[in-house]
Point group: C2
Chain length 150, copies 2
């Protein structure tokens, strides 16, 4: 039931971009260094995020990545859907293209999986990258020795 590193690293990177939103393209290397992630591996994740339209890239020297939309317009669910696939603990209740099942109409198990999926979706979609930035700012203000743990 665990998330893969795609989802974990990817959301970390997106949060990093959100914190640095409006400061031009952020090079992958700096994100990878801050987050302690293999640069090459993170590259693959950014590719996925770019193709999904969540980040924009600028090639060449002084290039890098930036969010394609404002942090307030990107939810945790948006990021996780792209990197982990449609939300759902079992294939027959995925948000998109659920795997067909001959018993679908009257399957009691299905009700359970749908309820869990809906609660996950609600939680994921309720948190934006902006919310995360706000929380970071709040904690920073509350504590002298707070550091950006992103």
């Amino acid at each position: 039931m665990k998330l893969s590193t795609k989802g974990r690293y990817g959301l970390k990177a997106m949060f990093d971009l959100a914190v640095n939103y409006g400061e031009g393209p952020i090079p992958l290397k700096s994100i990878a260094d801050r987050q302690n992630i293999s640069e090459h591996y993170l590259e693959q994740l950014m590719m996925i995020l770019r193709k999904a339209g969540l980040v924009k890239s600028v090639r060449g020297a002084q290039g890098g990545y930036m969010l394609a939309r404002k942090p307030a317009e990107i939810t945790v669910g948006d990021v996780l859907r792209v990197l982990e696939g449609p939300i759902g603990l079992v294939d027959c209740v995925l948000e998109q293209d659920p795997l067909e099942c001959d018993k679908a109409e009257n399957c009691i198990m299905r009700i359970v999986w749908e309820k869990i999926r809906d609660s996950m979706v609600a939680a994921m979609d309720s948190i934006t990258l902006q919310d995360m930035c706000d929380e970071a700012e709040k904690r920073k203000a509350e504590s002298q020795n707070y550091m950006y743990y992103i």
Copy 2:
């Protein structure tokens, strides 16, 4: 983010036992046949469930498995915790023995994972095997050609 077959098969089997609750020990073979699961594989899952105290077994001919408690006293969360491990999408926010992380105090990611975990836990713990049986009965009553799809 998917459940493994342990969780899926295991909950199916537990629901099967709940439907047949009070009818003495149910042989594994009959569960495996109804649910279309490898008998030997299901055996391993039942072993885990037995050691966790969710089912009781009776050995020898006419033996089998039965729920250790009433269906109303076993939640979906109980079953999934035993078969899939503590609930949580990432190791640092598992319900039990979360993986320590040096940044724990001020980690913004953590807030996200906790919120998702809590919503999953709430959904899982809110559904009992009895609820599932009730729903099956309800559907049965509503439709002539309803069949027990368990």
